[in-house]
């Protein structure tokens, strides 16, 4: 299974390298939460970001480093963009052509009103960047610009190491 996953990864990387357009699926916040909150062996790292958010763009390389550290281990990084749905073609896709974003990028579709923000984490005021790390019933949340060392600490916290 691991080999299949790794080869899929390799294929997707080479496709990206060949200049294929990145797939950026629209994912409703409820679907995203269902996906990461379903108990499994996988540690989910979700980064809420946007192309217009300066500290978000600055911290992307910190996230790019995670995959290398956890190769073969069940850590999945999801870069959840909060760009507006009508800006996928005009902003998100061009951004991904010009910047290295190693992990899966999704466009987060959010309901109006902002109640979903506390549903992601009660400590989240809504400022981005924000990062949520989940493993089974353990979660760790951080609002603000993050670095690789802090990410490693948070992953350590939820993995119960």
């Amino acid at each position: 299974m691991r080999i299949i996953l790794l080869s899929l990864l390799a294929i997707s990387i080479s496709l990206t390298a060949m200049g294929e357009t990145r797939e950026v699926p629209d994912v409703e916040i409820s679907q995203l939460l269902k996906r990461i909150e379903t108990p499994s062996d996988t540690i989910y790292v979700v980064n809420f970001w946007a192309t217009w958010c300066l500290p978000c763009v600055k911290e992307i390389p910190e996230f790019n480093r995670i995959e290398k550290s956890y190769q073969g281990q069940p850590v999945q990084v999801i870069m959840a963009s909060l760009d507006f749905p009508n800006q996928k073609e005009s902003r998100v896709l061009p951004f991904l052509e010009n910047h290295t974003v190693t992990h899966d990028v999704i466009l987060t579709v959010t309901p109006r009103g902002g109640e979903w923000i506390s549903r992601v984490d009660n400590a989240w005021t809504g400022a981005i960047p924000a990062t949520l790390i989940i493993n089974r019933d353990r979660r760790s949340f951080y609002e603000g610009e993050i670095n690789y060392e802090r990410l490693m600490e948070m992953i350590g916290e939820v993995s119960g190491e």
Binding site: G113, G126, E143
Partner: protein, 199 residues
Amino acid sequence: MKTFKYVMMMTLALVTFTAGAQLKVGDKAPGFKLKNIDHQWVSLDDYKDQKGVIVVFSCNHCPYVVLYESRMIELQKKYEPKKFPLIAINPNDSTIVPADGFSYMITNAAEKGFNFPYLLDDKQLFKKFGATRTPHVYLLKNEGDHFTVAYIGAIDDNPQDASDVKEKYVAQAIDALLAGQKPKVTETRAIGCTIKFRE
């Protein structure tokens, strides 16, 4: 016993920190005196004869702020005559975001036709309020000798499309206060840009 004392001290320190970090609805609003884009000083005391004040932590560069600028102008048009004027305060450090510097505040206000004061928060007032993002609204109610917080959060429920707003949180809260009632919604969350500052 020593350990107990230590734990108590740490708990107290933590509680104090939390209390100082986040203003809650019903809390007394901290006073301020900050420089406006016309180079005059504006203080909360200047608003003693008003029924309340709409304080918006704002800036120039944040796309979410930009989406709300015209709605801030509309709020001022509608509620300043009803004694609920709006004050925008820029808490961002221009050594981190040059576009949020004082000179750019002046040009931005002129270009967009701001009809409200736009103050430079060089004293980290935002920390006393507990503001974390732009835009971040604190609706203050005049209680006679001080102001209390009546609402904290977003201007309305749809940043992207002003024509498709269903809940005008700030306007509804002011209307309630003007009618002598408590606002139905006193706290909302919304996506915004982090406030950029140095410790």
